[in-house]
Amino acid sequence: MPSRSAGLGRRSGVLAVGVVIALLVVFPVIRLGYVVWTEGSGHLDEVFSEPALAEAVANTLLLAVAVTVVAVPLGAAVALGLRRTDVPGRRWWRFSMLLPVLVPQFVLGYSWTQAYARAGFTDTVFGLPWPSVLGPWGVWAVLVVNTVPLTYLLTAVGLATRAEPDLERAARASGAGAVAVLRDVTLPLLRPSIAAASVLSFVLTLESFAIPQVMGTPAGFSTVTTTIYRDLSLGSDPLSFVEAITLALLLVAITVIVVVPTDLWLGPRLRVNRVADSAGAPVVNPRGAGGRWIAAGLGAYLLVGVVVPLVALVTTAVTPAVGVSPTPANWTLDNFSAVINSRTADALGRSALLALIAATLLTVLGGCLAVLERGRAGRAMASLVTITLVLPGSTLAVALLIAYGRWIGGTLTLILLAYLAKLWAFAHRPISGALDRLPPGELQAARASGAGSLTAVRTVALRPLAPALVAAWLVCFVTALHEVTMSSLLYGPGSETLAVVVLNSAELGRVGLTAALSVLLTLVMLVPALPAWLLIRWLRSPRRAGDAAPVGRLSHAG
């Protein structure tokens, strides 16, 4: 019976996915809790009475709140500015707003220190240093810059799917001005999206490591993640180990306390069945309504947040030593030739290989999950995987280390497992979203024509899904390539990734070399990203051409 075998296939698929989730996430986290319970007994009082721990927790919470409070309104404002007005060059702005997340977090933080700290770029060029860039203020600012693209994207998606332009037009036609419409219609409709953006911003700040590490630690500002790193990589006494695993557990506990209630509230409110109008357009033709001001604001944000720091980074990389004036006459590639050695090359090779394997496996895993999700058991699995999205990387790394460290500790395999566990949701979301956007009729027509669920997906859905699959692969590849939170906790001799090499170089205070490595790490991303991006464009083009053809013909006839 074909139906029974299909059901069996689905059930074994769910089972297989379940086993992978159990091994990658559930068992390690349970094991972490168990070890904290056994190892910690007797030490926990000592650990908790340490003021450094309380300070780290307080810093982390304060930082998360401070970043969220600023990044969410900024992101929403950017979304409204780009989707509801006629800013000149909207397409270009939409792309460039994502620049801050294309730069590795570590590199972004490091380049800020090169740009704004004392003896940095603005100090030497304009005599304008910002000394507190090292410390909580700098960490906060860079985290905001890094988070805004995300809150912008979430709000923009909310605008596209929930705030149908006619709803706002109806308010305008009812006599409401632009401000009243924003207050009475747009913002209430966006409330779930904004809440989701707030939770994500809060959680991502909680688990951020690279930026606090590179900008906070030198100034004595510690967070939970940097404390875990310090305890595990520098501490040697059992107490610091207990502190690390306790903090790891505490971090996930805080996350759960924040995420679960909001998720329960948000879950039903974020579900939308309508096809997103991703283009977005001004609801009411806003003849010259401040479009240029919005463009100027966005430009200033990108200039201060990304462009100046990256220019400073490149300048540092081509300047022979600290104190040498960064004028073209002094430029040299010495730093680059110094860092391009066999150690860097090995690390680069390992990073590329890891990212390649991880991205490929993750695309397959994410695709499987997206397909299985359409069944009831699969849906539970998908929810579980989505939860891993907010499982802090530090916690995950510590948990995996405790669970499997004794066999594969310090190997690339353990790092790979960590990537798979952490990034599964990253691969799953775009694929699942693309599957949702398929007109249900297409799959149903395939089923009605005698195709099983997997056959229907393979024959009917794979072609329209291809851009999402490539995009998921690309997101996983880039994220894995830049990953430093887990890699820095899990690497051993001979398994450093390039990101870890850069981090270590920064800790050794080798400014020019670190800058050169950072430039390298950022540019490496382009090697797969450009072809993949072109591939996505190519995959989408026939469809677009097909849609446009009749219009073209009509206009020629007329």
């Binding site: 149908e164 006619d166 709803l167 037009r169 109806a170 308010a171 305008r172 036609a173 009812s174 006599g175 409401a176 001005g177 632009a178 009243a180 009475d184 219609v185 209430p188 409709l189 609801v283 009411v284 033709n285 003849r287 206009s555 007329g558």
Partner: protein, 369 residues
């Protein structure tokens, strides 16, 4: 402010052109809506009727041309007033009800924006809901309303605006005739009370002809014909307009003589005297429009039934004649079976292309010879 509110046009559109995304959606359209008048914009999807409506509402700015409301210029290529400062109300195609507001607050919204207090606004909103017979749904949000109920709330919100021009963006497209009748009646009462006008976009000819005082036919953003429902139905400017406004047959016949209000037509051997408005040209191979009621079964002409369709109150007969296929509509159930030899006669025709030869050239080439 209008000088004399009792006379004059509510809306005047002068040479309006609207382009967006590189497409000319409305192309040099001029029209007026008088006080107390409903003008229907009839056209297929993509004909520009929604764009025209959006330009009048203030959602789109003109590329060129002007829009005048109540004798005041509200939009030109240089300056376009925002919708909230135009005296218009809009009923949206997709209802456009705010998911977070219940029915009474939705209807109270335009009243609140006029500056009324919450209590006054709600009372008035309830009154309007009551007139549309949905006062019992006042506390419900859109998700808890059926499509028809949502439609009525959308209409109630527009009525609450007390506008001098009501814009309808194909609002009744998916409603059954009973519900449509109920609130069109309500509208007529409303319109006469406030002396407002209506601009009603639709692709449904029956609705446009039955509801409007005048009908504007739109094709590819251009105004093809503007007239009373009777005019556009009986004297369509070309075959395209004829097909758009209702069922039509085209006979290719020889007109042997024409006089004021009538013509002598040779219909395959016998010459028949028919009514015909306008100036009917004399000649051979002329396309003559025949509406289903303009011919009847029984008479001196011969034909064979190609198809018979029972339509409830009437039956449609498609007759194969010497001058082309002809659709005849008669009351009652079918009297003949398909394939039967029947006789028929013609009482009226309209010579296609008689009214506006320049505009019909395009369509005439599509006619069978």
């Amino acid at each position: 402010m209008p000088a004399d509110p009792s006379t004059g046009d509510v809306l005047e559109v002068r040479h309006l052109t609207v382009e967006y995304d590189g497409v000319t959606a409305v192309d040099d359209v001029s029209l007026r809506v008088a006080r107390g008048e409903v003008l229907a914009l009839l056209g297929p999807s993509g004909s520009g009727k929604s764009t025209l409506l959006h330009a009048v509402a203030g959602f789109l700015a003109p590329t060129s041309g002007e829009i005048w409301l109540q004798g005041r210029r509200v939009a030109s290529a240089e300056r376009a007033e925002p919708p909230e400062r135009r005296d218009v109300a809009v009923v949206f195609q997709s209802y456009a009800l705010w998911p977070h507001l219940n029915a009474v607050d939705t209807v109270a919204y335009p009243i609140r924006r006029r500056g009324s207090g919450r209590r006054t606004a709600r009372a008035e909103a309830l009154d309007i809901l009551d007139r549309l017979r949905i006062a019992h749904l006042a506390d419900r949000r859109p998700a808890e309303l059926s499509g028809g109920e949502q439609q009525r709330v959308g209409l109630a919100r527009a009525l609450a605006r007390h506008a001098s021009l009501y814009l309808f963006d194909e609002p009744t497209a998916h409603l059954d005739t009973h519900v449509r009748g109920v609130f069109l009646d309500e509208l007529v009462v409303r319109r006469e009370a406030s002396g407002a006008g209506g601009l009603y976009a639709t692709h449904d000819a029956e609705e446009a002809l039955g509801l409007a005082d005048r009908v504007a036919l739109l094709s590819s953003g251009r105004l093809v014909q503007l007239g009373t429902p009777q005019q556009v139905y009986a004297e369509p400017v070309d075959l395209w307009a004829a097909r758009l406004t209702g069922p039509a047959s085209v006979l290719t016949a020889k007109v042997v003589g024409a006089h004021d209000g009538g013509a002598s037509v040779d219909l395959g051997g016998s010459v028949v005297e028919v009514d015909s408005t306008g100036e009917t040209p004399v000649g051979d191979g002329l396309p003559l429009l025949v509406r289903p009621g303009w011919a009847r079964l029984g008479g001196e002409l011969r034909g064979r039934l190609l198809a018979v369709r029972f339509r409830g109150p009437h039956s449609d007969y498609v007759v194969d004649t010497a001058v082309g296929d002809l659709l005849i509509r008669e009351p009652g159930p079918p009297r003949y079976a398909t394939g039967a030899d029947v006789t028929w006669t013609l009482s009226r025709t309209w010579a296609l292309g008689a009214a506006a030869p320049t505009e019909t050239k395009r369509s005439l080439t599509e006619l069978p010879t």
